[in-house]
């Protein structure tokens, strides 16, 4: 997992799988960086994610609550068609948008 700050958006570069097991560490690390960097928005890079189940949705929902409290938003980019399936199934795509590019995402979130 890697982090980059762009203005008030914390970009999170995810790696590997998003399941119940991996989400424990992911949520801890993201929450910690989000607070440390005093970020407002979260932008997740899904390029290196090769699997996501509903635990990943739960993790995103939890982050959404935190970010909403700070008046921020969440964006996603480089989402694979497979991952897109569960984002739509859960309805979470209405709360956080999957952007075509990082540029587009950062523009919308700023």
């Amino acid at each position: 997992m890697d982090f980059v700050m762009v203005n008030r958006t914390l970009v999170v570069i995810l790696e590997g799988e998003l399941d119940h097991h991996t989400c424990v560490a992911i949520r801890q690390n993201v929450d910690r960086e989000y607070q440390k960097k005093r970020a407002k928005n979260l932008l997740f890079d899904f390029a290196n994610i090769n699997f996501m189940d509903s635990s990943g949705i739960g993790m995103l929902m939890g982050r959404y609550r935190n970010v909403a409290i700070c008046g921020g938003e969440i964006g996603l980019y480089n989402v694979s068609p497979e991952a897109q399936k569960i984002l739509v199934m859960s309805g979470i795509h209405k709360l956080m948008k999957a952007y075509a590019t990082k540029q587009e995402a950062l523009e919308f979130l700023a």
């Binding site: 399941d19 119940h20 189940d53 509903s54 635990s55």
Partner: protein, 143 residues
Amino acid sequence: MPKKNSMKIQFSSNSSNESFARVAVAAFISQLDPTVEEIYDIKMAVSEAVTNSIIHGYEGRDDGEICINCAYEDELISIEVTDNGKGIVNIEEAMTTLYTTSRDEERAGLGFTVMLSMMNEVHVFSEVGNGTTVKMKKTLGVE
């Protein structure tokens, strides 16, 4: 000659085994030459069922046993995920979209919804105090 095969694996309710379970079932059904999407769909269903056994059946404890029976006959795949955990009080309620009995954790309540979406058939057998078995079927090569 029909293609026919079966396997059974058993592992502890350690969350590290969620990935193992997905890969084990995927490897087994790869013998049928499924599409990338079919493999992913089945991995998702297995992942949800195993996760349910761990976080609900065994309430997050890693000292329980989970068993997966997997079989295929031609393109029809059957997967059974069984635990000896606490069982489901109301199966119909549990299978409702967005329903979850989890309190503090960030659970989306989508496990069964995903299973129903990814597989052609899902049947749940459970008794309070006596564990749960989720039986799922999928026919490959069909939309």
